[in-house]
């Protein structure tokens, strides 16, 4: 499954890259969403994927019966998802405000501060 996911994640990185290279700020944000999903899935995949064994301990037991999926990776991804959401929310509102002040969706028109 990791092999398959490697390709899927590659597609995600590719689409994220393509979207971020557009001139529209909205596409930029969509690219960021794709990127963050790609990174999360990458972490999920490289940690090793296991079917049907959620990292939960049955009631009354001290440990799960068999091997379970990597709980550490899951905790990390959960953290990353939430962080990604916070950051994304910020970016979304930022483009909105940027549009308000620049009155254009075109990133190429937002270059007044560089040189």
């Amino acid at each position: 499954m990791e092999t398959l996911m490697a390709f899927v994640i590659g597609v995600l990185y590719a689409t994220a890259t393509y979207m971020m290279l557009r001139r529209s700020i909205v596409k930029l944000v969509i690219g960021l969403v794709l990127l963050s999903n790609a990174a999360n899935l990458l972490l999920f995949t490289t940690a090793g994927m296991m079917r049907g064994a959620p990292p939960l301990v049955p009631e009354g037991a001290l440990q799960p019966e068999g091997p379970v999926a990597d709980p550490l990776a899951q905790a990390l991804i959960l953290t990353a998802i939430v962080i990604g959401f916070g950051v994304l929310a910020f970016a979304v509102v930022l483009i909105r405000r940027a549009y308000d002040v620049v009155r254009a969706d075109d990133i190429n028109r937002m270059k007044g501060t560089d040189t």
Partner: protein, 140 residues
Amino acid sequence: MNQQSLILRTTGRFLLPLLLLFSLFLLLRGHNEPGGGFIGGLVAAAAVSLHLFVMGTNAARRVLRLTPRDLIGWGLTTGVLSAVPSTLLGEAFFTALWFEITLPLLGELKLGTPLFFDLGVYMVVVGSVLTIVLNLAEES
């Protein structure tokens, strides 16, 4: 400015408490089953967001009573404070303290600073998401 449909409004009125209850449920069981402060907080935030869509921002603010920003402050404070008590006993920061209490109906209950911490997480998530959604909605 209530232009929302009657059907949505009515269902929304019913769904709000249901979702809030569900969020508390997710928060409380999170230590043992899927759930926890994040998930619970997100559900609660979704609940208020729904209310916002259905009944408008003012109604949503009324539901909350306190501004979501205060919730952030309290949540963060709770989170930081739950890391501290152990140091009074000479342990490292964040060391969990557990104590058992016996409640009349619920029986033995294990409470600890991690749960307290999860509560802080819950508050921050609710506060943050709602700060974002409410202000954004008032904007548009």
